[in-house]
Subunit: 200 residues, 2 copies
């Protein structure tokens, strides 16, 4: 979830989604209410109720908006430096635990898949979008010769599975070196299966 | 979570935990109540309230009991066939999606780490116990020459991170071939980094 897209809302729908995002960041999912979203919204709370019946409708619209922004930015991406691209992404993912509240909210929302088909559809789609983006980065690296002849889709799916496990671990562990070990082994995997020249 | 340990409860404490396990399997966490646990319990519901104040105390006692059983079975394990041992375990993990209700409950409980320190402590410990068990299997394979000179702890942590991501994916996806791709790539990782003779 990247909040930058909410900095300059284009219309009142985007203002509503931006308010939902801020309220989620502040209170988490369990303690979120439409009233609390209203507190983040400059206009009348009535306008929220006019467009949305439940907090889940607001949350899902916000998640869909963020995913659509991600798709718009990362589809048909020109990847100039595939390996640097991948390494920067891993830095961001392993650094995610610094924003624990944000991560906890993400895990709370993800766990809604067990109760609500709309969340299940959303996260199945978001895993797929993230996989397609990674597969594009991997295919660009195979094309440029930076990466071996791997199966970009299989590697992408494996990375997304690993990343979801990592997020779950980041909200569970505190102050252990488990994540350092996992990162070292992930790098060794990439060296063995993906990077054309593992020594650089 | 292995229910077999609840088939023959030794005393009324184990009967209570077995009833909690059955009620959890039936209703999931969100819809679980002490009343519903009572319906699975042959004796008086008063006995539940006498020992436990909240459903979370009952659930956590049940999770701790299952983890202690796992530790008792798998600590100082004699691993005769390390590679077969690991492959059997992967079969079980990738087959876990057949019992979706069970998986959903596990994810619901895991997501409690975002709200409740007692769940966070439990799952941090259960990740560690599972990692120690895997590291033992890996070290046995290095010792026997079936596995390369890998770092058993780093591989074990990586596998546990991957497995948690896999469980999350199994409750999200339906009828895609993503899990087949992830399995093929995981096998390729093990061939590249762990198995001494990847061709067999």
């Amino acid at each position: 979830m990247d909040s930058a897209v909410f900095e300059d809302p284009a219309d009142s729908r985007e203002e509503i989604l931006a308010a939902t995002y801020r309220a989620l960041s502040e209170h988490g999912y369990a303690d979120l209410t439409i009233q609390r979203i209203g507190e983040e919204f400059d206009k009348s709370v009535g306008l929220l109720y006019y467009h949305y019946d439940t907090k889940d409708e607001l949350v899902l619209a916000t998640l869909e908006f963020l995913l659509a922004e991600f798709e718009a930015r990362f589809t048909d991406l020109e990847v100039d430096e595939p390996r640097e691209h991948l390494e920067t992404l891993l830095d961001r993912l392993f650094g995610a635990e610094e924003d624990r509240t944000h991560l906890e909210t993400l895990i709370e929302l993800r766990a809604r898949v067990t109760h609500d088909e709309a969340y299940r559809d959303h996260f199945a789609r978001s895993d797929r979008v993230f996989e397609e983006y990674l597969a594009d980065v991997l295919a660009a690296g195979v094309e440029s010769g930076d990466f071996r002849e791997c199966d970009p889709e299989a590697v992408a799916t494996t990375l997304v599975v690993f990343v979801n496990g990592l997020l779950l671990r980041q909200v569970t562990d505190e102050g252990t070196d488990a994540l350092d070990r996992a990162r070292a082994e992930l790098e060794a995997y990439l060296a063995a299966r993906v990077y054309a020249d593992p020594t650089t």
